[in-house]
Amino acid sequence: MTAIDSKPEETPGMVDGQGHGHSDTPFQAHHFDTPQQQYESVKLGMWLFLGTEILFFGALFALYTILRANDPELFSYASQYLNTMLGGVNTAVLILSSLSMAAAVHFAQRGKRTLMLACLWLTLAGAAGFLVIKYFEYEHKIHVNLNWGPSFYYPVDQAEATAVGADGEVLTLAAENASAASAETALLATENAESLPTVAEARLAAAPASDAVSVAPAALGPGGLSAIKPEEKIAADRAAVGQVEYSDKPHLEDKALPVNTHRFFAIYYAMTGLHGIHVVVGMVMIGWLILRGMKGHFDHRYYAPVDLGGLYWHIVDLVWIFLFPLFYLIH
């Protein structure tokens, strides 16, 4: 690769005398005139990138708001399956790791390499701690099928079909209550089997004459939003695909399971999952900073990577600051 290298840490294209050769500022890329300009550029670049991150998560927040605005009960119902304790601890962990990150920047700025490294290690530990806790949360939920999508309704072993509620209270997920659903299925079946004109006439008889049948009842609509419960749809799905036995009962049928509960978990996993990915990326980045720090790349004149890494890590914290009350603290 012969092109001019703008990597900050390397002396840029001096070979042919075209570079500026900032011999006193070896980190400065050749196309910048001053360290100040370079620093401000990368900082602005980072802020713009954070801006895209904000919109990236922002779209999910919009989704969240819509779902919740339309289904408030669903959210307060489903939120009880999340563990406030673990969520709270994780919030604290992130805040503390943010502190250590900010401190790392502070020490980098003052050229205190050892302290900076120590702080970076602490931050890394915080990130790891966060992920470990998150892992336990996920692990448990997946165990009891508090899942996204259809698998939310898959059967689980009865012995394990308990979820620890917010306050340590144990919610037993009864499995008997399939009667309501099956009654409805039966009803549907008869309705389908009959010729429709008959059904229409029956409805006519029941409805006031003026705008009878003006809006068909929802029963024949698609699942999810309709009177058909998602689990029926899932059962039907599986009947169609044919991999699972027909006898499955929805394990979460605790009488009041609102329709579409799986959507809460969909958005929960989408948002916390995306956040989790950002934490992982943050860890890689901090690890890289540690490596470079150990090689002595940073001093009080050049610490931009630490600064930018810090910004990134803080935005990860910032997103969690919103996720925590939105998911764990629904009254």
């Binding site: 360290p35 895209t52 904000i54 401190a103 502070h106 309709s226 009080h300 610490y303 600064d307 600051i321």
Partner: protein, 142 residues
């Protein structure tokens, strides 16, 4: 609220030649405030103030986010344009949220799980406003 980073240009051995140095005490105080607010928001959850629970929760979260942005992320001392970037992005998120939420709320009665009778009411309620129906009566034969 921002002071230009130029102030710190001529830093000595202990000062960055670029950027702003935030003192450790500021950082620690920020952290303490954040931890306090976290405890607070958890506590408030157990107090029932109806609709206000969510308002309080979001309010505290916004406060915390502001603290992080201003002090941890140095935005307090940063270039105005960086501040604008941050605020503008949030404004656009709010825009997206506001308009989509309004729309779904408006349409909620038309969802299947809404009450079909209600749907009809909604549709009917709109009818008298129809300019043609109202003023000519052509739409109501016999």
């Amino acid at each position: 609220m921002s002071s230009s980073t130029h102030d710190h240009h001529a830093g000595g051995g202990n000062q960055p030649i670029v950027g702003h140095l935030v003192s450790m005490s500021t950082l620690v105080w920020t952290t303490l405030a954040l931890l306090f607010l976290t405890v607070l928001t958890v506590a408030v959850r157990y107090v029932d103030v109806g609709e206000f629970n969510i308002v309080i929760a979001i309010g505290i979260a916004v406060l915390k986010a502001t603290l992080v942005a201003l002090f941890f992320m140095h935005l307090w001392w940063d270039r105005p344009f960086n501040q604008i970037v941050f605020v503008a992005c949030i404004a656009f998120v709010v825009l997206l949220i506001a308009l989509t939420v309004i729309d779904t709320k408006q349409n909620a009665p038309l969802y299947y799980d809404g009450n079909p009778a209600l749907v009809q009411e909604v549709l009917d309620a709109k009818a008298p406003k129809a300019p043609i129906a109202k003023q000519t009566g052509i739409s109501s034969p016999g």
